[in-house]
């Protein structure tokens, strides 16, 4: 029964992603000024939006680690697995966002990269979470979990700055098309293609996150069993 559900879920996710691909590449109309290269928008924007989702998961889980680390260490361990995996998937999505951006910018702007507020804060966001993952490698044990959770709070502060960057400053990065000023908004077929891709990549990312958390929980169980065995051997 469980296996059947997993197979069905996998098929459902793959079907949704295929549908999103079809929408982005074949169904959505070609943009008037930029042409075909604009289609990268259906990958760049969903990954940008969704890296906030995964970094938020990391933030919430980190706050739970901090509040449970004394009162309920077992749950703190579970929250820590979510925090780690949220940051990993978030860094992955942020990387895709940072790679697709220049691919689009080169033909449209004529340059790969510019140091405007949006691009810079996104790069900083990425760097902070990479350093978060590094901290987790350098330190060990439950002490590391609290320290990493503290660092996650600092990472989370950068998220609203990044979100607001092209709302506060005039940037070379296009101004927001969703929730922006009165001129913002998308034509219905473009909005539909974008919506399907946000949904497909969200489901895909959450599935990857769930698998990763499952693995991490197993690893934690193995580690604690090893520790118990080492203690018993003494």
């Amino acid at each position: 029964m469980k296996k059947l559900l997993i197979v069905l879920a996998t098929l459902g996710i793959l079907a949704l992603m295929a549908w999103g691909f079809d929408q982005a590449i074949f169904i959505a109309p070609t943009e008037a000024t930029m042409g075909e290269v604009q289609r990268i928008f259906y990958y760049h924007v969903p990954h940008g939006i969704l890296c906030y989702l995964f970094f938020s998961i990391n933030f919430v889980a980190s706050m739970l680690v901090l509040s449970w680390r004394r009162s309920d260490p077992a749950r703190a361990m579970a929250a820590d697995a979510w925090a780690l995996c949220g940051a990993e998937v978030g860094v992955l999505y942020c990387t895709v966002n940072l790679v697709t951006g220049p691919l689009w910018a080169r033909p449209v702007w004529g340059i790969w990269w510019t140091w405007d507020a949006r691009l810079t804060t996104t790069l900083i966001l990425w760097l902070i979470y990479v350093s978060y993952l590094l901290v987790r490698r350098f330190a060990a044990g439950s002490e590391m979990q609290s320290l990493a959770a503290v660092l996650a709070v600092f990472g989370a502060i950068d998220m609203p700055i990044n979100y607001l960057a092209n709302r506060i400053w005039r940037t070379q990065h296009p101004s927001p098309v969703l929730g922006g000023g009165p001129d913002s908004g998308l034509a219905p077929p473009i909005a539909a293609a974008l919506g399907w891709n946000v949904l497909a990549w969200a489901v895909w990312g959450l599935a990857v996150l769930a698998i990763r958390v499952y693995l991490e929980r197993r690893q934690q169980r193995i580690d604690s069993a090893d520790e118990a065995a080492a203690l018993a051997a003494d």
Binding site: L127, F138, L147, F154
Partner: protein, 234 residues
């Protein structure tokens, strides 16, 4: 009587006694200031030789060189700031005092701020001579920008030095965490120093100085709130 006395030794008093201790240690050894001063001097000389700037270009790059020199120099001192508390278990003893982490943290930040400030006061004139600087903007604003940027550096640096002190290879870890977090402040500091030196009036509302002040407030508050967690992490 003792109760009244301990009430008198309120939070400010605790900060003051921590600060006095840090200043006395530094006064007797002068490790931090001497090493920072020489290191920053080397960075200034290195950049001056590597780029061999003309007067016009030196105006444009001087802000960045000064900030980066301070940054590199203070990282070496910040690593020592907590490392010398580790010897003879001083840090454990401090944790057992009733003062709490926040007072200890603030005193450490104030002490390091003072040390870096002294280094900058000595380095500043040398810097102006080596780079043949002739500022064109409101020079008095430097007295606002540089302390604000230094505070951002020292407050975050002290916090993350305490965080990384528990890991393996702590000297390596501090810059890896600190630099990404400090980047927004570095950017604001460099841009406003450049505006002052070149007098190009590109930032008439002093937006970047306000941003720097906002950054200081947010990050110092978060650090004060989370410092107990860092120091108690185990």
């Amino acid at each position: 009587m003792t109760a009244a006395r301990s009430n008198e030794l309120s939070w400010a008093g605790l900060v003051w006694s921590h600060l006095r201790k840090d200043l006395r240690i530094e006064w007797r050894s002068r490790d931090a200031i001497n090493s920072m001063l020489f290191f920053a001097l080397l960075v200034v000389v290195l950049f001056s030789m590597a780029f061999d700037p003309t007067q016009a270009t030196s105006r444009e790059i001087a802000g960045g060189v000064l900030c980066v020199a301070t940054l590199f120099a203070s990282v070496s001192a910040l690593n020592q700031a907590w490392a010398r508390e580790i010897r003879h278990q001083v840090l454990d003893a401090l944790r057992m005092t009733p003062s709490g982490g926040a007072a200890m943290f603030l005193a450490k930040v104030l002490a390091n701020f003072l040390f870096v400030g002294i280094v900058q006061c000595i380095l500043g004139p040398i810097f102006f001579i080596f780079y043949n600087l002739h500022p064109l903007g409101d020079t008095w604003l430097l007295a606002l920008v540089i302390p604000l940027g230094t505070w951002a550096l020292v407050s975050n640096g002290t916090f993350f030095a305490a965080l990384s002190i528990r890991s393996r290879s702590r000297e390596l870890l501090l810059p890896l965490i600190l630099f990404p977090i400090f980047l927004p402040a570095l950017l604001a500091m460099v841009l406003s120093v450049n505006t002052i030196l070149t007098g190009d009036n590109s930032d008439p509302d002093h937006l970047f100085i306000k941003m720097l002040a906002g950054y200081d407030i947010v990050f110092t508050t978060v650090s004060l709130l989370l410092f107990d967690t860092v120091i108690e992490a185990e």
